[in-house]
Symmetry: D2
Subunit: 146 residues, 4 copies
């Protein structure tokens, strides 16, 4: 998928018919579940989340502070999509991410998105610095320093 | 997938992290979206639905009259599942279906389900007989008569 | 709500536009989220769940073993619904429930449902007997013995 | 609700237990369904959508071009929320909106959001100017000109 070259992590799946709303295309809220799928795959890869675990390891985990989507073309069932995630910036206690949703067959871009994740201590939601080890793993995965 | 031998139609997909609820396993309502995915794939195959169309072709389409699920084992992210659908009975204006959800890797059965679909004329929801051509296509797909 | 006289617990809420699917009525899977809303309200009332808690108190909590819905009339946005829950049977380690979904304004019944909940020890999902205190609270709420 | 004084349209509803994810708070994607609930209420009020209709009246309807959310505090079940919507700008063929999600009991703000809706001709998704009558109704509802 040429359009996904800039995304070190991608997930791919067929959409479900039930994701369409009364206007006959995929409902806007579903894209955020897809972004989340790519984000969790990314965070699993760099050890920030342990996928099957309910509570973050060692008490430090991610929380989504903000997120955003640009809808470029409606997604109509049936379709298989590929969703990419990359880190665009690392702050003191925040990680900015970008997403893209492409049609897996045609490569057409359906949507772009972004979001900011903050590292917090659970269950108090206290902001903590991005762990050095996590930063290193992200930089290695992205092939650059932040 | 040995367990899916009895299901002429299957769909396969990774589950999304966001399908889990606060108990840390996939929420019970999500299985019905998965059953629907297999049901729509089945109905597309036999020409009862035109997947991308919002309104049923020629005004006749399916409506779900009842549905049911047995939860055998919790589904925990990450997992890829395969969902099968088969027709178990055809009535005058109804079609009974059965579903199964297996783990795509291990073959472990997560859930079983069933449902009854009624053929109706849209948009009035008037019950109509199961079209003869549809019955034939289902019998051909299932390899038996009803 | 006359139709809800037989249900000791009810919840009431407006449906969201986004709960409709491409056929222009509420998607079948959503009803199970509504049943769950009534079930959780019921279980909160009798002390089986602590609503804001992620893990069941004392390790014993409910898990849904099976569930079922009969769809009587399509629900079309806008609508406000009332959903009732009652216990119909208590087994050694299981609780059978029944649900109903009515239009809050007209009283028209949209759907009926049922389900079986098993009491288990978390996180091992080991079946445990329905606690005597829970049985008593349910009997008091239902006004009869099981 | 003091915090909702600046929002001409509000919707109010209890959250469902099933809207929480494995982290024990409401999943980020659900807020967009809530924003949509307020947006549809707004568009119904000014005649842009006919709530029960699947296809936009006269072929002109809204499509969401982009949307965004800032998560201020986690929402934990049980809670009742009030969601407000207002128009912040009207372009040639676009309408910018802002949203807020408050706790209905305490007035605590859980989230803020925004989005841009484009007026298009269905089913071709061709951009059309915001109808003059629609602009007038919005200006009347907002008590100012754009």
């Amino acid at each position: 998928m040429a359009g996904m070259n800039d995304f070190p992590i991608t997930v791919r799946f067929p959409i479900h018919w039930g994701e369409m709303d009364a206007y006959g295309h995929v409902n806007n809220a579903r894209y955020f579940t897809w972004f989340e799928a790519a984000r969790i795959a990314y965070f699993s890869q760099v050890g920030l989340v342990e996928p099957g675990m309910q509570l973050p390891q060692g008490g430090v985990g991610p929380i989504l502070a903000s997120t955003q989507a640009d809808y470029l073309r409606p997604v109509v069932f049936p379709a298989e999509v590929v969703v990419g995630a990359r880190v665009s910036r690392i702050g003191n206690s925040s990680i900015a991410m970008e997403y893209a949703v492409d049609d897996a067959a045609s490569g057409v871009r359906y949507a772009r998105g972004s979001g900011v994740v903050v590292t917090v201590r659970y269950p108090e939601y206290q902001k903590v610095p991005v762990p050095a080890e996590l930063r290193e793993k992200i930089e290695k995965l992205e092939g650059r320093t932040f």
